[in-house]
Symmetry: C2
Amino acid sequence: MAHKAVNLKMLSETLGLSQTTVSRALNGFPEVAEKTRARVVEAAERLNYRPSPSAASLATGKSRLIGHVVSLSTHIMINPHFADFIAGAGEVYAESGYDILLRLAPLEEQERIYLNLAQDQRVDGVVVHGPLTGDRRIGILNALGLPFVVHGRSDEEGSDYAWMDVNNRRAFHRATEFLVDLGHRRIALVNGLETMNFAERRRQGYATALAERGIRLDETLMFSGDMTEPQGYRATRELMALQEPPTAILVASVLPAMGVARALGEAGLRPGPDMSVLAFDDCLSFLEPIDTDAPRDIPYFTAMRSSIRDAGKRVARMLLDRIDDPRRPLESELWEADFVIGQTTAPPSRR
Amino acid sequence: MAHKAVNLKMLSETLGLSQTTVSRALNGFPEVAEKTRARVVEAAERLNYRPSPSAASLATGKSRLIGHVVSLSTHIMINPHFADFIAGAGEVYAESGYDILLRLAPLEEQERIYLNLAQDQRVDGVVVHGPLTGDRRIGILNALGLPFVVHGRSDEEGSDYAWMDVNNRRAFHRATEFLVDLGHRRIALVNGLETMNFAERRRQGYATALAERGIRLDETLMFSGDMTEPQGYRATRELMALQEPPTAILVASVLPAMGVARALGEAGLRPGPDMSVLAFDDCLSFLEPIDTDAPRDIPYFTAMRSSIRDAGKRVARMLLDRIDDPRRPLESELWEADFVIGQTTAPPSRR
DNA sequence: ATCGAAATCCAAAGCGCTTTGGAAACTGGC
DNA sequence: GCCAGTTTCCAAAGCGCTTTGGATTTCGAT
């Protein structure tokens, strides 16, 4: 193990070359002979030379860091979805030699933070998480000229931006239709926080599907909040206390869906035969069987399914592409959720 | 908005001071007059001066970045616990002007990564996640002289290190005793991966408690694996298929505990009256009610409880302290888990 | 008044990399 | 052989900060 890290100067001296040439050889510039390059690379390897990131960053203005600013105030809880998203994204970053700079901050501070990150050149790009409808972060980022990709959409007027989203409206439209086709008329919606754009779209899909089938919206069947297990539990208890309870529940995530199942269980009802439960499933890793060789069970929940980890990969890829070429045309991508039939949906029981 | 970011040189010129003085004024050195300092600070504020992190990093060798290297290979899944831990840690970092550098990498690459991070001076310290018994990362980090704190313990021989852990052995010892006191004799253990040190300790606590009460260990009642919901589900199904099923199940996390509950529900059994379920609860945010004003429900699971988010805070604090003064004596901290009685434990039903 | 100490401030040398603007050394074609 | 055109390489100027080693000023005490 070298006692003192070897730097470019030392390396170039050992080679009898200038720093310029060595630097260029290592960074793949065309104006250095292949033979020289090979020599340089070999020596670098042998001496365990590693360029200093901060020096490189100072000279180039690039940090090879991708900013992820997420909120975790008590209200908008840190969602477990984030871990899987970042798992996907991080894999892509690692392949390309980038690291994640993670900063935790409440939403109201994020605009300022983006401004600082941009001015400091601390990151080469950022991913916007959990966009609201009319999210102000997007305008700021466009003004700053900092490359970014939005996970989700914001419906921001006028400003264009790169995004990747799942078709939440369509997914919930289809899910609602599916339940109606099974014979359900009273369908509850346990939604995410509707200040979030994705939750708003989901409600729209649900609402239009009902309207198309001539079913009137019933506010008492609609819930909105952070997608936790207790949310599902509580909503279900309230629903079952209604004079005319629903026969089906549409849930925004598998997490609250588990709360739904727990509440039903306590009441002696079985998901499926007694109450249909249909959830949006982000394929969260801790809810999946790990052993992929094992015979795959029939999925428990009937669900609209879209891997958030894959979304993380895709968003990261898009962002790195933008960083490589900031003036490329803005991309956007809309994924359709898979519809998988599980054990928790059935025609309404008549009692 | 300034068109071009103002740097130290410009700032010092506007003030008619040298860069040295300005730098010292801003960094709180004693050899600058209070009056001058005030002037400098005011001007810095007014001109929106922000020191360049990479330049500062190059000059000082400090990056103000804390490394978190986590694995997410398919085998060791990215655990949802991580999100909450990082939520706590990130809060502390943010207060002190640090950011998280997050790198995803399989365990077998982590030693090399620490080496690189240290040589590159890319981070000022690291947190070690998920220590194994005899974890090699600890020796490497000690050799590198990179400040670090271990979340958990490793039982590494000889090498000393700073750590923070919950008393897993005691917690599972107490839990087992509690169940025995209720009259249970056949108690299953659905444990985490026992290559992880924490899971090993938990098994020890369980085993010694049983031994003390003269109950023979039964391998068919013991499971070990990634702590997912399906793990609990599958284990429970296997347990119920036994000729002589257990009357109580000790579970390593609330996540598999939910799988346990689901399996029981399907079989028409109710957690508590029909089968006792006792879980270790990390207070995962997505399983907690968010609205803390609401009357708090009686906790569902009887559990040993210790907030992983608080652990994140504490570990971060310890690490920052070490970075401030690397030669301070090594600290370690052992937390006792709270024991909370919920609705899922009862004396064994006799049937 | 005068002197040493304390308080202020500064010029300049790094930190380790990239990159500009040439210079020197090869080519091949005549 | 000689010259224009490539190749191949280099010296030196940044990038923006911290910090060393003084220089200058201020000030209380003699």
